[in-house]
């Protein structure tokens, strides 16, 4: 955010203000002059899309909160009141409910982009860890938000997930009762989840600020995974280049979002959540929202309750250690022929775990879940550390400008060898 500004206030008033609070210069340096690698592809627009989605969720959420009441006997009816009687209430609620899913689709693309191009490697470790924290906060927010309509899946999802904490030895039971505010999921649980659901998005916004700060301090990674050598040759100013590309990509993403809001608004939800919460009747299958399914599959694949809970949290925590688990000096999978294969195997395993999480825990599903769970951890804890020693990376281009020129010369294919001397950083 610092250092790139060429901002010079022209008017006397602007100069007076800038010398007291240099906020216009800050915006100028981080959103206008900030140098962006010129070889970024459309996978780099998801940061902007995610920022946009955070604003969408907060704005639609604040409006919903004006009409919603967190009180167990009436919450289900209040949500229906929003759907039926509030002007455009159906639109705001469908935006918010599907927006959560869009947020996760975008964040998963964003994370897998980071995995593919090695965006977590030095000097971006703190940037990456802040991202993992945002992801955790998003999961907590989404989980509590799903409880608020107080349907059957809200109630039973909350029961299953909060019960996980009872696996903690000695203090587990006490912690669960403390979370519930009683001896089961009930009105106190709903009320505190609403309070936290309103609070956490602003914590996300705060960590997003840090995430962007760290990003602008170290500069963006890029598809070739090499450092910027010359700002004038390798980069373009954020505005208009990145701004326009981000706005265009966000607009296309909005089209995708609209498909869900207007035409299949209940596709990603569960029909049981249109049945009011009933503590006396358990649904046939309790399924979490789709974005939790890979972790749900890991949880269920371990035959021991505490082991399952630990494995589930470890599956997320392991991401934070990724910068040190991956021993390769080369960032981008473009120049890592073996990692590229393992990346796609991992992607298939992650999606496969999601599918398995949606299926009943029986027969072949259990066996495949266990194999995939083991592979998930093997990928991070064994394959990635070894690959850095075993793999022979392809030669890196000398600079981003060289990589771009070489790609243009070859007509758009992936650069195999740089024109200049190979560089292994």
């Amino acid at each position: 955010m610092e250092g790139h500004s060429t901002y010079q206030p022209k008017s006397k008033v602007a100069q007076w203000f800038e010398s007291r609070l240099p906020i216009v210069g800050l915006v100028h340096s981080s959103a206008i002059a900030y140098p962006v690698p010129k070889n970024l592809n459309y996978f780099w627009t998801f940061g902007a899309i995610l920022s946009f989605m955070l604003v969408v969720q907060i704005v639609s959420g604040v409006v919903l909160a004006m009409h919603y009441v967190a009180y167990a006997p009436v919450s289900f009816a209040r949500v229906e009141h929003i759907m039926r009687d509030v002007d455009y209430g159906w639109l705001i609620r469908y935006i918010h409910a599907n927006g959560a899913s869009m947020f996760f689709i975008a964040v998963y693309i964003h994370i897998f982009r980071g995995l593919y191009y090695g965006s977590y490697k030095a000097p971006r470790e703190v940037l990456w860890i802040l991202g993992v924290i945002i992801y955790l906060l998003m999961m907590a927010t989404a989980f509590m938000g799903y409880v608020l309509p107080w349907g059957q899946m809200s109630f039973w999802g909350a029961t299953v997930i909060t019960n996980l904490f009872s696996a903690i030895p000695v203090v587990g039971e006490v912690i669960v009762q403390w979370l519930w505010g009683g001896y089961s999921v009930g009105d106190p649980t709903l009320n505190r989840f609403f309070a936290l659901h309103y609070l956490l998005p602003f914590m996300i916004a705060g960590v997003v600020g840090l995430h962007i700060w760290a990003l602008h301090h170290v500069g963006q990674n890029n598809p070739d995974g090499i450092d910027v050598k010359s700002v004038s040759k390798d980069t373009v100013p954020f505005t208009p280049y990145a701004t326009l590309k981000d706005v265009f990509a966000t607009c296309v993403f909005l089209l995708f979002f609209c498909w869900f809001i207007f035409y299949i608004p209940n596709y990603l939800g569960h029909s049981d959540n249109y049945i009011p919460a009933n503590p006396m009747s358990t649904p046939a299958h309790i399924v979490p929202e789709w974005y939790f399914l890979p972790f749900y599959a890991i949880l269920r694949s371990i035959p021991d309750k505490l082991g399952g809970v630990l494995a589930m949290f470890a599956a997320i925590a392991v991401l934070a250690f990724l910068p040190w688990l991956d021993t390769s000096k080369v960032r981008s999978a473009r120049y890592r022929p073996m990692y590229r294969i393992f990346f796609w195997i991992f992607a298939v395993v992650a999606v496969g775990l999601g599918y398995l999480g949606s299926q009943p825990s029986e027969g072949i599903y259990v066996i495949v879940s266990r194999i995939f769970t083991v592979y998930y951890f093997v990928h991070f804890l064994i394959i990635l550390p070894l690959l850095g020693f075993v793999e022979k990376p392809k030669p890196l281009p000398a600079s981003i400008a060289d990589a771009v020129l070489a790609r243009h010369a070859k007509g758009g294919a992936t650069v195999v060898a740089g024109a200049a001397a190979p560089e292994t950083k």
Partner: protein, 278 residues
């Protein structure tokens, strides 16, 4: 990210999903037929005449056991619904006696229904409903068409997102209403329950509610169980999603706007980047 690696990933995913999905299909209940509803698809709208017929079935048959607490008489008048005139809706409401009060002397009293009243429940509470229905609770019908579904499985659940299939609930309700049959050989139906091809577990407390000629249609529509089931399912869909017409109409406008805006943005972006190799 080459095309080849994407294809590889897709092929691997397809192989992975195909095996367990086909394994799970064996021994499944009959799947509801997918009817062609007027409100399906991107330009779908409710059929007003169908909603009026469905309302008649609901009023004369369903509502004698099922409540619909989020459904108000005023909804009968609103755009995108059965479009009764205000006078007709007021007349329908006035056929019912609503408990109101307390009045100035502290007593509850009965008065004819108004547009601002919700549909009167047939039983004062769940216990009374169970007591009159052999221990089973007839579910509230307000959002029933969205609260019911059936298992689709892979790859159907993926293709449904592309063809905009959202009618799981109505198709299920139609199938259920027409799914009463004699139990197959060797299936013992518990006393008080009835065999139904589509109900999970095949044994349902509700006896077959519809019979041919039971409700009088004045517009020449055939008075068959299948027609009643179709009409009342459509009506229940409207009751569960009363703003569907507006949703699809506004959605089309928004999508057209966004397509044009995306196009303009794309060419602007292209122009700006045209001088920079990237």
């Amino acid at each position: 990210m080459t095309i080849r690696s994407i294809l590889f990933g897709a092929a691997a995913a397809a192989l992975l999903f195909a095996a367990p999905a086909s394994a799970a299909e064996g021994g499944h209940d009959d799947r509801p037929a997918r009817l062609s509803w007027s409100f399906a698809g991107p330009f779908g709208m409710y059929d007003t005449a169908q909603l009026q017929r469905g309302f008649k079935v609901f009023k004369e048959v369903c509502s004698s056991c099922h409540s619909a607490n989020f459904f108000y008489f005023r909804n009968l008048v609103q755009p995108g619904g059965p479009r009764f005139s205000e006078a007709q809706a007021k007349q329908i409401a006035a056929e019912y006696q609503i408990t109101d009060g307390p009045n100035d002397s502290g007593d509850m009293f009965q008065r004819p229904g108004r547009l601002s009243d919700h549909w009167p429940a047939p039983f004062p509470n769940d216990q009374a409903a169970r007591a009159s229905n052999g221990g089973a609770l007839p579910p509230d019908m307000s959002v029933l068409a969205k609260a019911r579904s059936y298992h689709v499985g892979f790859p159907g659940f993926v293709t449904d997102a592309f063809i905009q299939y959202q009618e799981h609930g109505v198709d299920y309700i139609h199938a259920l209403l027409t799914g009463y049959a004699e139990p197959p050989e060797g299936v013992h139906v518990q006393s008080g329950l009835h065999y139904n091809k589509y109900f999970p577990g095949n044994q349902i407390a509700m006896p077959a509610p519809l019979s041919d000629g039971q409700v009088e249609y004045t517009d020449g529509t055939p008075q068959t169980v299948d027609q009643y089931a179709t009409d009342v399912s459509a009506f229940l869909m409207w009751m569960a999603e009363p703003h569907l017409d507006a949703r699809k109409r506004i959605g089309f406008q928004v999508v057209i706007f966004l397509i044009v805006l995306s196009g303009l943005l794309y060419f602007t972006k292209k122009k700006v980047w045209s001088k920079v190799p990237h």
